[in-house]
């Protein structure tokens, strides 16, 4: 039974080394960094910190980066995959707890939620409103979560088999939750405290927040219309 920590990263040269070392300090699992076509030395820094590096030859977006790591995990036979963001917003001290829940066998996907405990970095008001709307929309199509945009995910091999071949593209988390729920995955949330990023910039600018909302809601409706994934 083996576990893998995956870290998608795009132009995170300043943060990635520390993120990898931080993960290493909290668990002894293998670490994969997916460098999504960075223009800086993200890949080199990640390798120096001891991670296996998968390099996209061009920028494909966060969904594709996570998917590449899932495909890697599937091929190499890992049993559980925990995702951390490349900017250090995710605190790796929750990884053992997430793995323990997955090992318990009652959940296929464990999502770290900022809003269950309401501590730590809570994002801006506008984004919180957006996330709240998304949680309502996603609950309408079958998944009840408080933080459907969280990327702090742990999944087991069952969920990996479902998500690796068909992981959504642009802002994938909410849509992926719905896909997994439709395929019969059991999803559980645990409270996590997230940090504000220290370096770099969010991939979602203010201008794109509105686009994000529209895209995700559309995607959720599309998921609902599309023929369901066979179990």
């Amino acid at each position: 039974m083996t576990n893998l920590v995956i870290i998608p990263a795009f132009n995170e040269s300043d943060a990635i080394g520390a993120v990898v070392r931080d993960v290493r300090a909290h668990c002894d699992y293998d670490i994969v960094v997916v460098d999504d076509g960075s223009h800086d030395d993200t890949a080199q820094r990640a390798a120096e910190a001891g991670a296996v590096v998968l390099r996209h030859p061009c920028n494909l977006g966060i969904g594709a980066a996570v998917q590449t790591a899932y495909l890697f995990a599937l091929r190499r036979g890992y049993d559980r995959v925990i995702r951390q963001d490349g900017d250090g917003q995710h605190d790796p001290s929750y990884i053992p707890a997430i793995v323990a829940i997955l090992e318990g066998g009652d959940s296929d996907i464990v999502v770290g939620s900022r809003f269950l405990a309401r501590e730590g970095f809570q994002s801006t008001l506008v984004r919180r409103i957006g996330i709240f709307i998304l949680s309502i929309v996603s609950s309408l199509v079958g998944t009840r979560t408080t933080d459907p945009t969280s990327g702090y995910w742990g999944i087991n091999r069952r969920a990996l088999r479902i998500l690796a071949p068909r992981f959504p593209d642009d802002y994938p988390e909410t849509e992926a939750l719905v896909i997994a729920a439709q395929a019969g995955c059991r999803i559980r949330e645990i409270p996590v405290v997230m940090r504000a990023r220290t370096t770099g910039r969010s991939s979602i600018s203010a201008l794109y927040s509105g686009f994000y909302m529209v895209k995700v809601i559309l995607a959720l409706l599309v998921v609902h219309v599309r023929p369901r994934h066979r179990r």
Partner: protein, 125 residues
């Protein structure tokens, strides 16, 4: 029908544009820079538009048949519908290309890592 000098001028202009389009398309095929199936599409569309603009009775006949009071606006309708379908077609092509590029790039990333791993392994003996 009373025909003015301006109308002949317009028709000649349409003919010249049609000819230029055809020459350009043929040239592109010769240079291998235009896929044959798009070439057929463009030549066909250009041909229909040229026929309609040069042979006025045909345009008048179709326009009257479908109830368009000002026949030349039929030209715009045909051109607009054609362009709409082409753009929609391109959206589909772009989506499938995007998907293909994603799969290729992911495969490259996985293969490259595997290759590096093999190379850095000490030889078996």
């Amino acid at each position: 029908m009373f025909r003015t000098y301006e109308l002949y001028l317009l028709e000649s202009l349409a003919l010249v544009i049609g000819l230029m389009l055809t020459i350009f398309v043929i040239g592109a095929i010769r240079r291998n820079s235009l896929n044959a199936r798009y070439a057929i599409l463009w030549v066909g569309a250009g041909g229909v538009l040229a026929a309609l603009s040069v042979y006025r009775p045909l345009l008048d006949f179709i326009a009257t048949a479908v109830g368009i009071s000002y026949p030349p606006s039929l030209l715009f309708l045909v051109a607009f519908v054609f362009l709409l379908f082409i753009v929609l077609h391109y959206s589909l092509v772009l989506s499938s290309h995007r998907e293909a590029i994603r799969h290729l790039a992911q495969a490259v990333a996985l293969l490259e890592q595997e290759l590096e791993e093999q190379r850095s392994k000490p030889p078996a003996e």
